[in-house]
Assembly symmetry: C2
Homo-oligomer: 114 residues x 2
DNA sequence: CAGTATCCCTACTGATACTG
DNA sequence: CAGTATCAGTAGGGATACTG
């Protein structure tokens, strides 16, 4: 065996996990995913409040990347004051669902350690 | 609702995913996990060859962190030349298993996009 | 309200050389 | 073989102020 690469996989991509890791790699992305999963439509300020510690810049750039990756949808209503609603796309919902076993593992570990 | 924090969860830990993300956060960790899963015992040089591009320093530090996190076991045989074998702990094996749906999501996405 | 625009900073990663 | 030690580079993240 030469490397772990799957045949036909893009260079540096081995088993699908790294593809997924690139998409959820940002520090807050899984939490954004989670927040959007709990409630189908969230506004920018809502997300900011839900993620204590995140800055506007980081939230905005994460959302833009997730939108570009096709896991988050964005709808802007032409109102005053402005209103923008973020949601999971179908792919984003499946991504979030695929994270559930990982979350279960983390919960168990957190509970074990207090 | 104030935040996404679970009751009783350590500060900044929300749904278990972030706990898990901390453990697999290093750039190569999921791939190390994968390599150790494919073959129960791996030597240092073997892992280095399996992960083209990783440097010795990064591989060593990742392995030490994963050992400290209790997901990788290390056995050093007192021989000449030295031999060290790395393996998944039970917890590491469960972690790896919990990554499988995520890997499936990534594989599907990679296949869709070529 | 929903973002940009700047500036900064350090933690992670990497290259290279060396050692028990 | 299985690692350290040292030195740098950089990208991601953060603080703050400002805008349509």
């Amino acid at each position: 065996m030469a490397t772990l690469n799957r045949p036909g996989a893009p260079d540096g991509h081995i088993c699908g996990i790294d593809t997924a890791m690139e998409v959820i790699g940002g520090k807050w992305k899984v939490l954004i995913l989670w927040a959007l999963h709990e409630h189908p439509y969230r506004r920018f300020g809502e997300l900011r409040r839900l993620l204590p510690g995140i800055t506007e810049k980081v939230l905005a750039s994460h959302l833009r990347e997730m939108e570009a990756d096709g896991i988050v949808g964005r709808v802007s209503y032409d109102e005053v004051p402005p209103r923008v609603e973020y949601s999971l796309t179908e792919d984003g919902a499946r991504l979030n669902a695929s994270l559930e076993p990982l979350a279960a593992w983390g919960r168990e570990r957190a509970d074990r350690q207090g």
